[in-house]
């Protein structure tokens, strides 16, 4: 399932990384490899282990087993130099509520040896007012501050956990423009999100985590190409669902009207399908690639089916 990064040097690399909170699962045997300059989307529903993974990589959590390397250095709990090269935006933003945005920016800059090169630019582009106290800021404005803090020092590696949470669509767009610019300049992106359209927009590789385990790790385009496609066929003559029934990898065939069928095409069945359809007189064919959301749901639906089957098996025994 997992593909090795095609890039020579891995910026993020984990081997058998596991984290348990007592008896509770965080992540299990996670093998990740993200190459330099790569844009990696890390997908999973709430509680799947995305944030745990990030916190282990940033040495905020102690791994139970396994090892991790970031930017070529082993992750240790006391490592600080490494974080000079990382920009992190947490999933939930917590700041010192009594202080102003300006104070926060100066405070964080103090740990990084001076004012961030992009601070002024980011403040302007995100239209953030740093003079206001943090407790007076809306969720969206706190998120903007977290984004400025995470990006202002032009880090080599961006680790973003739901970076647009709380932002309006206009600002979401600005944020992704900024992220795309950073990536073009050579930064590596590790984007954790459950907003699939965001991941689809910027990521070239995607990993899907489910219940602490990595269940997919593939090139985005290959993943989408190999997975679901929505087929709609309009025939010149009346047809019924059996016209497409029985074909391998063609599922969910539905007759919309006397001349139209829809179906879901999975796997590598396109060639055979087109040849099969060529035997009929057609007026229109659309074959739409699945969105990442469809793929994501496919993974979870498969697991749900499997769980359901396991459960039934268990009941039977």
């Amino acid at each position: 399932m997992r593909k090795e990064s095609t890039h020579v040097s891995a910026v993020i690399e984990t081997k058998g990384m596991s984290k348990f909170y007592g008896k509770h699962r965080g992540v299990i045997d996670l093998d990740l490899s993200v190459g330099r300059g790569e844009t990696y989307g890390f997908l999973g529903p709430n509680g799947a282990g995305k944030t745990t993974t990030i916190r282990c990589l940033l040495s905020m959590l102690k791994m139970t087993h396994g090892e991790a390397r970031v930017l070529g250095e082993a992750v240790t709990l006391d490592g600080a130099a490494l974080r000079q090269r990382i920009g992190y935006i947490p999933g939930e933003v917590f700041m010192y509520e009594k202080e102003t945005g300006r104070w926060m920016l100066d405070y964080i800059s103090g740990f990084r040896g001076g004012k961030g090169a992009s601070e002024t630019e980011l403040i302007e582009r995100l239209e953030f007012d740093p003079s206001r106290k943090i407790r007076e800021l809306s969720k969206g404005n706190k998120q903007k501050l977290a984004l400025i803090i995470g990006l202002m020092h032009d880090p080599e590696l961006l680790i973003l956990d739901e970076p647009t949470s709380g932002l309006d669509p206009l600002n979401q767009d600005v944020v992704f423009d900024i992220i795309e610019e950073r990536v073009k300049e050579g930064a590596t992106l590790f984007l954790s999100s459950h907003i699939l359209s965001e991941v689809e927009r910027v990521c070239e590789r995607v990993g899907i985590i489910r219940e602490g385990r990595l269940v997919a790790d593939e090139n985005m385009h290959e993943l989408l190409a190999r997975r679901l496609r929505e087929l709609t066929v309009k025939f010149a003559d009346g047809v019924d669902a059996s016209t497409l029934g029985g074909m391998p990898s063609v599922e969910d065939v539905v007759s919309i009207d006397a001349n139209t069928l829809t179906a879901t095409v999975t796997g590598e069945a396109v060639d055979g399908l087109i040849k099969h359809l060529a035997a009929h007189s057609l007026t229109d064919v659309t074959l739409q690639h699945a969105s990442l959301e469809d793929v994501f749901m496919e993974f979870y639906r498969d697991d749900a089916h499997k769980d359901s089957a396991d459960s039934k098996g268990g009941d039977a025994s």
Binding site: G79, R83, P90, E99, Y107
Partner: protein, 265 residues
């Protein structure tokens, strides 16, 4: 140590530190001011009329309440002073580690190029600075204002009080700091340290009224805190220094080791 974190820490604690210091200065001044009225024969007569249990409740049964040392220990340094400094130091310790973890700001700090060791050593330095400021806020006004109210403490007594008071505060603060470094709930250091201090205070009281409870004294930090004897006699038992210093060092070492190994988010 991180100078940036130190400055930030002091900036964030400036208001509580100001008010606690201000309270101590005002309280010390008030105690000095009241001494001429309290130190006379009438006060001695009133003190002698009190049952020993009540005297023990506020200080030391062996100490004359009409003496300068007895007055300061009973009315100030044996009770209210401890409440004020404990509140200040427990508040600091609870907020600066467990409070940061619980409040989520630790994640922000430790995602910066700031090592855990620098973080905790800087916060320890902040604890030491607060201890020194609170000690100064307590004893400097007594030393400076005292001569105007018939209170003359020698330099030796001043430094003994300053040093021992600082070490007692450091021991209390270090214990709270240790609990804070090992927990993620900001309320636990406050609750646990307050309970331990209250327990010690009750044990001190019991030791003064019951021979049976004397056995607790060696384990009771407050039993070594005898400012009244320092003021009256200009000396104190040597083991007090070692006990306070030892407790402080052990607690801070445990805090350091625990923090270096724990999850901080």
């Amino acid at each position: 140590m991180s100078w940036n974190l130190f400055k930030g820490t002091m900036h964030q604690r400036r208001k509580p530190l100001f008010w606690f210091s201000f309270s101590l200065v005002a309280y010390s001044w008030m105690m000095v001011w009241f001494w001429p009225q309290m130190g006379g024969a009438e006060y001695a007569e009133l003190a002698e009329s009190m049952p020993p249990e009540m005297i023990a409740l506020f200080g030391d049964a062996e100490l004359s309440l009409a003496s300068l040392g007895g007055y300061f220990q009973t009315e100030y340094l044996g009770l209210m002073w401890m409440v004020i400094v404990a509140a200040a130091l427990i508040g600091y310790a609870a907020k600066m580690i467990a409070g940061e973890v619980n409040g989520g700001t630790m994640e922000l700090l430790l995602s910066q190029p700031l090592s855990r060791s620098k973080f905790i050593l800087t916060r320890m330095a902040g604890l030491v600075l607060q201890v020194l400021l609170l000690s100064a806020a307590t004893f400097v006004p007594i030393q400076i204002l005292g001569p105007g109210y018939d209170i003359e403490l020698t330099a030796k007594v001043f430094w003994l009080l300053f040093g021992l008071g600082s070490l007692l505060m450091l021991a209390i603060g270090s214990f709270a700091f240790m609990v804070s470094a090992l927990s993620r709930d900001g309320g636990r250091p406050t609750t646990l340290t307050s309970a331990v201090i209250a327990g010690m205070w009750i044990a001190s009281f019991l030791a003064d009224v019951s021979d049976f409870a004397d056995a607790l004294d060696p384990f009771n930090l407050l039993s070594y805190w005898e400012p009244g004897k320092v003021i009256n006699n200009g000396a104190l038992a040597t083991n007090a220094w070692w006990v306070y210093a030892g407790v402080s060092v052990v607690c801070l070492v445990i805090a350091y080791i625990g923090f270096m190994r724990r999850d901080v988010a």
